[in-house]
């Protein structure tokens, strides 16, 4: 198995192709992450306000997350009218997943903020929009970050499924290895996916640290 691996990685063309796949994978996984985070924050901010709105957004969010990814990849072109092999399908599907996955953490993060802090902000004369961005959102980061980490790992793993419907990313290595009964690309694909998940996770942890300087040295 190892000489197969050496052989596989020995070719400069293969390495370039893998690098291309990796780049595509990063794009397909992280763009939806960003879109999902933004959407989930917007929806969560609205849903946070009343109990009824919460149910209105949370129930469909839970349902979306139970849909099999493959099914979503395949159905989305029929709904939004893209070609079936278009990478946009994967991006839309994963954005949906990310949003669905993050709405609850966003609401929980906003709930986790001490009500007296928000009341104090209002009493200082903050208007609601500015209060949200200056006070509530920064304070939501610690709880939110945990959700974003889960979503990033999930996205990075799910992008590979897209290879079945022909979009790029590291999943191509799996379909390829499967079609040729060839271990090397599959192993490389698994290792790179895991590494990518790890690196992105570390980046997210670093970002969280950077965004929450007030939590350093405080046991919370």
């Amino acid at each position: 198995m190892f000489d197969e691996l050496g052989e596989f990685l020995g070719s400069a063309n293969t390495r370039a192709a893998i690098l291309g796949d990796l780049g595509q994978h990063v794009y397909l996984a992280l763009l939806p992450l960003v879109v999902g985070v933004v959407l989930a924050i917007a929806i969560g901010a609205v849903a946070h306000r009343t109990r009824r709105l919460r149910g209105f957004f949370l129930v469909p969010a839970n349902l979306i997350y139970t849909l099999p990814s493959l099914a979503l990849f395949v159905v989305i072109p029929g709904i939004i009218g893209t070609r079936i092999l278009d990478p946009v399908n994967v991006i839309v599907a994963l954005s949906l997943y990310t949003t669905a996955l993050l709405i609850r953490p966003v609401i929980e993060a906003l709930d986790s903020i001490d009500a007296s802090v928000v009341a104090a902000a209002t009493a200082m004369g903050y208007r609601p929009l500015r209060r949200f961005f200056a006070i509530q959102l920064p304070l939501a980061v610690p709880v939110l970050a945990a959700g974003v980490r889960v979503a990033s790992v999930s996205n990075i793993s799910l992008v590979t499924v897209g290879a079945i419907i022909g979009t790029g990313g590291l999943g191509v290595l799996f379909t390829d290895g499967f079609a040729r009964e060839y271990f090397a690309p599959i192993i490389v694909g698994i290792v790179l996916t895991l590494l990518l998940a790890l690196v992105v996770d570390l980046v997210l942890v670093a970002m969280r640290k950077f965004l929450t300087p007030w939590q350093r040295g405080v046991s919370t």
Binding site: E7, F8, S11, N13, T14, A17, G20, Y65, T66, L67, P68, S69, L70, A71, L72, V74, V75, G78, I84, L85, V150, V153, S154, I156, S157, T160, V161, A163, I164, I165, G166, G168, L170, G171, V172, L173, F174, T175, D176, G177, F178, A179, R180, E181, Y182, F183, P185, I186, I187, G189, I190, T193, L194, A197, L198
Partner: protein, 257 residues
């Protein structure tokens, strides 16, 4: 499109035939439940051990995270190449994916037991086993069930992917429909398995699984290969050259085209 879907679903032939929705649904559920059962048998005692003794919690969480990042498709194709048969490969793959949520649920459930309740249990003279079964397990049940539910959700989704390596189930419908761009068929796939609200199911996993050996485990080409294979970019040539070399060395590559 909606009309197409309704009329496709309305055709009884699409429900009962050998590649109909019902057999596929039973297959799908069968695989899910089989994997869930095996995973539960492995994960619950393990999680209980870790939660009860408090040893290995860190390792367990780390492992669970790694498995969460493990790409389903990669795992399934990898196992398929090892077993060269779709059933054991996918079952093992599914079990591997189902273990972490159940493990985590059991572990956190057991670990969530109130220290004072445990103290009291020891105080009234319970042995370790009695404490586990009479105190810790009952307390752990809500979180444990939550873990099993999560595992089942993941299984339903992943089993669809497993159709790629020739397993039956509803994923088959997806891929077949995708191959001929038969939209209603594709939609029927994801919409039917409301598996997460599972009820007692009378079908036995083994029998349903055995009735589904089709697809790319067999030597003859299936239409879906024609549909997705050409979409791959031409830069795949270096691999293909190597595959040819491998074929020359003796073992024929499983090229379906």
């Amino acid at each position: 499109m909606i009309g197409d879907i309704v009329s496709w679903l309305g055709d009884p032939a699409h429900w009962t035939g050998p590649n109909g929705i019902w057999p596929r649904l039973w297959e799908h559920l069968g695989f899910c439940l089989l994997a869930l059962g095996i995973a539960t048998v492995i994960a619950v005692p393990l999680g209980a051990f870790v939660g009860h003794t408090g040893r290995g919690g860190v390792v367990l969480v780390g492992l669970a995270n790694i498995v969460r990042a493990l790409p389903t498709l990669g795992l399934v194709t990898f196992l398929f190449l090892i077993f060269t048969e779709s059933k054991p490969a996918t079952i093992i793959g599914l079990v591997v994916l189902a273990i972490p949520p159940i493990l985590a649920g059991t572990y956190s459930g057991i670990a969530s037991a109130d220290e004072r309740a445990l103290d009291a249990a020891t105080g009234v003279g319970m042995t370790g086993w009695q404490r586990l079964f009479q105190v810790e397990f009952p307390i752990a049940i809500p979180l444990l069930l939550g873990g099993i539910r999560n595992a089942m959700l993941q299984l339903v989704a992943t089993t669809a992917v497993a159709a790629y390596v020739g397993l039956g189930g509803l994923g088959r419908l997806l891929l077949d429909g995708l191959a001929v761009l038969d939209y209603p068929k594709v939609v029927a796939g994801p919409c039917s398995p409301r598996c997460w609200r599972w009820q007692p199911i009378s079908c036995s996993p083994g029998s349903s699984a055995s009735s589904c050996r089709t697809g790319c485990g067999s030597p003859q080409p299936s239409p879906r290969d024609a549909a997705w294979r050409p979409s791959r970019p031409p830069r795949r040539r270096p691999h293909e050259a190597q595959t040819v070399r491998r074929a020359v060395r003796g073992r024929p590559a499983r090229r379906l085209r």
